[in-house]
């Protein structure tokens, strides 16, 4: 088990003091502490009862299993978060509902770091039901804001972006910072409010607040001619190619098998035996090439990321003006994700379950995609442009949209959300009206 970082201890300290209470409450607090310390995978029943100071018999009297307890803890954290968001929205005019909800999230993260970290970060590592709970929770927060927005007259100016996406993105931004044990999260308020305000438009004109999929755009010419896939098995007998190439062949097959198993069963249920079996290799070959499934996952994640950047960069450079480039880049990205559901799951859903290294990598890749937005500052010279944190917020919001779509079984419509995603990326730089004109023009020309 990894040594406990001191920052985590301090985040959890407040919670630790409130340990007294009913046994159920103590177990829930124990789960939150354990998950924050060791992640979902490390928060075993014994770790939880250790933190809670309760016997395992009691544990199983109250909960069916670890997941049951995990979900109950998630529900508890969500309840608290919902109460503070609802109170904040209530306290302000309906026009300020979005801003109030963002401020409430920041305040919650600052005042209840342990609960916030659990409900914004650790929950993403849980199994499918935990993700369902997380998504439903965000939707419920969004509904509080949406209900307030219903009272806004059509001339009232409010941000034109799906509230669930906005809140989901803010939660992800906070998750990264809570994980790193950062303090002073309230300071993000100015930049985040500035970001959401950059989408502001009279409510009567809104068009992008709900997802109404457009028709599928024509296939981007910047996608690879052949899909990413593993090399074929070498066949029986002694291979007639050099050892280097044999190892590379095996490595590639393991990577794609890992992706497949993870996409089907979730990372938490993935075993080396299953990966090796699907790759048609002996488990010993796996162990010779990789230390553990995390390492294989990291490698396939990196491969998928590199492919996506290659498509994105190729498409981006083909556009003449910046909005055009963004459109092309997004077209390539959305189609590429839509076309490869396995890698999409690996990149957008399962990475959080694959340990701290993988989470860090997801955050790094999100930062990486902000380079496609830098040019926006020079394109929109008349405006000052959004604050730096907005770039991260935009990419995270796009990530959140795709994550939701990838989870939306059975038929994600990522490629058909191209206009929405373009609006998300362009508007903070060129304003809602110009961004709409540009998208209209693109849709018409099609």
């Amino acid at each position: 088990m990894a040594p406990r970082p001191t920052t985590k201890q301090s985040i959890n300290a407040a919670l630790q003091e409130r340990r007294e209470g009913t046994q159920r409450e103590r177990l829930l607090a124990g789960m939150i502490l354990a998950a924050n310390r060791y992640g979902y995978a490390g928060a075993t029943v014994s770790a939880v009862i250790g933190e809670a100071g309760v016997s395992s018999v009691t544990f199983y009297e109250i909960f069916d299993d670890k997941d049951d307890c995990f979900l109950a803890a998630a529900a508890l954290a969500h309840e608290r978060l919902l109460a503070s968001v609802a109170a904040a929205v209530e306290a302000h005019s309906p026009e300020r509902a979005a801003a109030a909800s963002i401020e409430a999230l920041l305040a919650f993260a600052a005042e209840e770091p342990a609960l916030a970290r659990f409900s914004m970060n650790e929950i993403l590592a849980g199994r499918s039901r935990a993700l369902d709970a997380r998504d439903a929770g965000i939707d419920e927060l969004a509904q509080t804001v949406e209900r307030a927005f219903e009272r806004v007259p059509s001339l009232g100016v409010i941000p034109e972006l799906p509230v669930g996406v906005m809140l989901g993105a803010v939660c992800r931004l906070l998750a990264a910072r809570l994980r790193r044990g950062e303090r002073g999260l309230r300071a993000m308020s100015g930049d985040l409010l500035g970001w959401s305000k950059s989408y502001a438009r009279p409510a009567g004109k809104h068009r992008w607040r709900a997802f109404t999929p457009a028709s599928s755009p024509a296939r981007s010419p910047h996608l690879p001619a052949t899909a990413l896939r593993p090399p074929p098995a070498l066949g029986p007998g002694r291979p007639r190619i050099p050892a280097d190439e044999v190892a590379e062949n095996q490595r590639q097959r393991i990577l794609f098998a890992t992706a497949k198993v993870v996409a089907q069963r979730g990372f938490n249920a993935t075993t080396i035996g299953e990966i090796a079996k699907l790759a048609g290799l002996d488990a010993r070959v796996f162990s010779r090439l990789f230390a553990d499934p995390q390492e294989a996952f990291a490698a396939i994640h990196q491969l998928g990321f590199q492919e996506l950047v290659a498509s994105c960069a190729g498409a981006y450079s083909a556009g003449s003006i910046w909005p055009e480039r963004v459109w092309e880049a997004l077209r390539a990205v959305t189609q590429s994700v839509q076309g490869d559901p396995t890698l999409a799951r690996v990149a957008f859903v399962e990475a959080h379950a694959a340990g701290a290294g993988a989470i860090q990598r997801v955050e790094d890749t999100r930062t990486a995609f902000t380079i496609f937005l830098y040019e926006g500052y020079r394109h929109a010279q008349q405006h000052a442009g959004p604050p730096r944190l907005a770039l991260e917020a935009i990419v995270t919001a796009v990530f959140e949209v795709i994550y939701r779509q990838v989870r939306a079984a059975p038929a994600p419509e990522i490629d058909r959300l191209l206009p929405h995603l373009t609006h998300l990326c362009l508007t903070p730089f060129i304003g809602p009206d110009e961004s709409e004109r540009f998208i209209e023009e693109k849709l018409r020309r099609r």
Binding site: P231, A233, G235, E248, A310, S311, A368, I371, E375, Y377
Partner: protein, 461 residues
């Protein structure tokens, strides 16, 4: 015999027709030769060399076929003669321009003269700056030699000034080659009026300013071989191994495609694009001719697939390396290390994409230029890294891309791909200079080189 050529793009072609006095036989031959060269320049400069045939040249020049073959061995020979003649005209203009300005501004003067030439004689300029790359190996040699001569004009001017004078720390010939590429792309797109680029280009060149005595990058002297990038694929791209396992139909088609693409690259590398035939390609791929035509309309399409494959693999590896580092200059170094390593590891793909694309017609050249520009995405962060009062203009990114391409192209032509990784410091400097200034870029490169040393020693240990 060599005659002196005035404008070769048809302006004086019309004047040659109506001479009253009957010309003597040698004078007539000269006149015919001149008309043929003019026609070649005009046709290639307007529609690209790939579309020029001897018949078209004859029709345009109004000269008989037998007269053509009296002067030239064939189309390429005529092209080469026109190229050399035009280069001399350009060189003479540049000589004047460079001599008319202060020696420290020689590079600036040369670039200004190139722009003026492109403005005043677009067809001739396109012929020199873009089509010259399409005329096969002899034409490439002539093109490179012409660029070198202009480079020497500039370098010679630096000999006569105090060693503390600030001049751009770049190889002059590479700058000239890069500006020609940049103009060639514009001319092909039919853009006129290049004079407006002058300020931005001069600003870009001046951003590499260093005292003459401290110049470090003005030759292409190679740096040390950098350590192997951990993000680099272990083995070069190869055709899928033939397997004894039963494959699905789509899978088989995909494998065949990959085999054809790699075979195209190999044949094009060995024989040059124009000599490459579909027959040789399918022979090397071990496939039937039909398999080729099921996937590609012609060899140009197959070459574009080579480009696409090279670009994707290079971009994927480069992006992976770029995002693995912390600060932006360090990222550029790592990206460059992986990029150059990719080229070194895949010489066939590199040669086919970077050198032979020009011979394959418009779409292939545009493909190469667009994909080369795609790498400037890694420079965008430079604007955020250290916001300066004079940040490099947009055009600087295009110029940097063209300069790096020219550097790699020259290296690939002169000694294959063996030493491309050793150009890493050069390429990094070309990228960082305009954003950080030369002095700072130099010290960052030094610290990266030290890091490479340590890294290499660690690996050895």
């Amino acid at each position: 015999m060599r005659v002196s050529f005035g404008p070769l793009d048809g302006q004086n072609l019309r004047n040659t027709g109506g001479d009253a006095a009957a010309p003597t036989a040698p004078a007539l031959a000269d006149k015919r030769r001149h008309a043929l060269l003019c026609a070649m320049v005009e046709l290639a400069g307007q529609r690209g060399y790939a579309s020029v045939t001897v018949a078209r040249v004859l029709a345009r020049a109004n000269v008989s076929r037998s007269a053509f073959y009296k002067h030239f061995a064939g189309r390429d020979d005529c092209f080469l003669a026109a190229l050399t003649a035009l280069q001399q005209t350009l060189l003479a203009q540049l000589e004047q321009a460079v001599a008319s300005q202060a020696p420290e501004h020689a590079a600036r003067a040369a670039v200004g003269a190139l722009l003026a030439f492109a403005d005043s004689r677009p067809a001739a300029a396109r012929f020199l700056m873009s089509e010259a790359l399409a005329g096969g190996r002899a034409a490439l040699d002539a093109r490179d030699q012409g660029v070198d001569e202009i480079g020497r004009l500039v370098a010679d001017r630096y000999q006569r000034i105090p060693t503390t004078t600030i001049v751009p720390d770049l190889p002059p010939a590479i700058v000239i080659g890069a500006v020609q590429r940049l103009l060639g792309a514009r001319l092909r797109r039919g853009v006129r009026e290049h004079g407006a680029l002058l300020d931005d280009l001069v600003g870009w060149i001046d951003s590499y300013g260093m005292p003459l005595q401290e110049l470090r990058w003005s030759t292409r002297a190679l740096g040390p071989k950098p350590a192997r990038s951990p993000l680099q694929p272990r083995v070069p791209l190869a055709a899928p191994a033939r397997t004894r396992v039963q494959l699905s139909a789509t899978r088989r088609a995909e494998d065949q495609r990959q085999r054809i693409v790699l075979a195209t690259a190999e044949v094009v590398r060995r024989e040059g694009y124009r000599a490459a035939t579909v027959a040789r390609i399918v022979e090397l791929a071990g496939l039937h001719r039909r398999a080729f035509y099921e996937l590609f309309a012609d060899k140009e399409q197959a070459l574009m697939a080579v480009q696409e494959l090279s670009f994707r693999r290079a971009m994927a590896a480069t992006a992976g390396a770029f995002f693995s580092a912390g600060s932006w200059p360090e990222r550029v170094w790592r990206a460059g290390r992986t990029f150059t390593r990719f080229l070194e590891q895949n010489p066939t793909l590199a040669r086919a994409s970077l050198i032979e694309s020009h011979a394959a017609g418009h779409a292939a050249v545009k493909g190469l230029e667009d994909r080369n520009l795609a790498f400037t995405i890694f420079l965008q962060e430079g604007y955020q890294h250290e916001p300066r009062l004079n940040e490099p203009p947009e055009l600087a990114l295009v110029a940097i891309a063209a300069t790096n391409l020219e550097t790699v192209y020259r290296q690939t032509r002169s000694c294959g791909n063996a030493a491309i990784t050793r150009l890493l410091p050069h390429l990094t400097y070309i990228c960082l200079g305009p954003f950080l200034g030369s002095a700072k870029a130099n010290s960052l490169i030094d610290s990266q080189l030290e890091g490479e040393d340590e890294f290499a020693q660690r690996i050895k240990a």
